[in-house]
Amino acid sequence: MNSAIKFIVGLYLARRTICALAGRQVVSRYAGTLFRGAWEIIHPAVTILVFWFVFSVAFKAKGPEGTPYIVYFVTGILPWMFFAEGINGGTQGVIAHSFLVKKMVFRSELLPFVYITAGSLNHGLLLILASVVIFFNGGQFSWYWLQIVYYFFTLCALMLGLQWLLSAMTVFQRDLGQGVTMVLNLWFWATPVVWVADGVVPPQYHWLLLANPVHYVIEGYRGSLLYQQSIWRHWQQGLYVWGLALVLAVVGAMVFRRLKPHFGDVL
């Protein structure tokens, strides 16, 4: 407990380091390109357009209860992209920052925060874009929208533990990075992001949706942005997801702490 408090204080003191590294993360990804930071939006926007075109125009997919498909889809894909990119990037975090881990006194346990910060910048911009899409399709602002802050932090909490766990283990077993990409791909299709769950999922598989913490977050985004649903509606699931996030964070932190002294020897 004591070390957790110490860690949080350290986190506050290192906030500029985290921001600088997150900024570098964004800048260096597009270094040397003409559109620079614009790619940060263009890239996901095109992905969203392609999915929307294939499912809405070609497959004639419909949103639930008269919700336009594009609105349904965008509110699901944004938190998913944030999650998937954070996990994918974060898994490689320690390896990608070996130039710091090996050569400087650097607190590598901060790296998940770097990836989360870098991702949330992009996430915020896309959310603004999404709200434009919602307005165009007849949606309106409501105070329920602010609930996505809660869902956003739920997602961050889930990512934190997972990133600690995966980034530390990948240093020793690089195959893990490949595995993570694959699992995320399966996870994506197992979560109702592009497809609509209502009436599609057979009852014997319902537990799969309930057990999926990302599903809880995505439904939360949709409930807040589209349907004026309160957080309390799924409070049992909320408890479960936060419990899971806590367990992941503790396990992740323990594994990271055990493996960290060996980073310098392996990288």
Binding site: R16, R24, F99, K102, F172, Q173, L259, G264, D265, V266
Partner: protein, 463 residues
Amino acid sequence: MKAIDLTSDLAISVRDVSKNYKLYPSHKERLKEALHPFRKRYHEEFSALSGISFDIRRGQNVGILGRNGAGKSTLLQLIAGVLTPTSGTIFVAGKVSALLELGSGFNPDLTGRENVKLTNTILGVPEKEMAERIAAVEAFADIGVFFDQPMKIYSSGMFARVAFANAIHVNPDVLIVDEILGVGDAKFQEKCYNKIKSLRDEGVCILFVSHSTDVIQRNCELALLLEAGKMVKYGPADAVVAAYHDLLYGSRQTGKQRQVDSQMENVEVVQKNGNIELESELREFLEGSSELLYRRFHYYNPYERRLGNSDAEIVDFLVAANGKFQFNILTGHEILTIYLKVRFDRGVEVPRIGWAIVSPEGIVIAGSNTVMQNSSLPSGQAGETWVYAVEIKPNLCGGQYFLNAGVGECKEEDWVLFDVRRSLIHLSVIDSGRASGFIEVPSDCVVVRGPETIMPIDNRGRL
């Protein structure tokens, strides 16, 4: 203001530190072991450092010497906090700035400016001071427009400039410099060493790794010698450098065998000095003993390089300084006599015997041979063995030198090499303090004209 008492005066304290590297068949076993609930062992131990203890006070510069693989870099990485010791404790007072190899913490895709900014942010430099700090680094590195180019296009010298400039401008309490300045040009090196001196005067403790003992002697008052992961010597730089040279050149074999051998050698030497008169070596040499005499002497360099077609061979040799065969460190003014025993495997009409004195960097300081000197040696026949004596009075300055010796033939302008043994003999010359460079050249300076007196001068400008 910093109070100067004994405890706060301590910059680095290393206590009984060991670093073992665990050698695993693959990374997978390392992961398994680190996470194994019952701590099963999957590794073999390799001890990179063991039982290292020393203290360094503020404002002391310490050079770290040792052969490749002795554990120098590991020690620096431990002090920098990048590696964790297996056992023991390391105390470092204040901020460490480490230049570990090239490009400490730099990302080659970012520009020099971006990298400097990033590392300073990580080290916790406040936003207010950032612009000032970066400007200072830019000015010191002095690489012009390249400061705003990605570091991957830098030359190694530019890289070193930015890395060093950055390291000294973070206001470190301890500065670690691992063999980095060697890539800078002479002017920049000079600038760095001046900066290092001024940092030391400000109370910064500087740790140096360099293979140039000269650099260590000039910049450090203390030095530490590592050998095979153990601290062999820690003390005044000059003494440690001498020990390092012994380690490098004074031994014939490496590892365990050397220790055993050197003990036996000592016994032998004592017996010789006690019972037999000094010139016995020469008699033994001339009479032809069954063993090779040169192997007995520490001046023989087992890492000599040999070339030639072996039509004749230097089978054995002896060196005498002022007629003495047992010598250690020279004053540089002795008369050196090199006795060479040469066996001819074919008839040679005009044999040629040559010698050279070279520096450890390979610069030939002096050299000659019998053909150049027009002293014709009698011809040798196949199967004959001749002994030649080459006499040199080199007047060497303090330092480390090697002697080459060779036998060849001069045949109608054609130079044939039979057996050239390069860096055959290692000589340590003590620094007299009277001259610098390689060779002590007689020189003098007198007053020609003072403010009051006019001295008589002859027409050639001499007194």
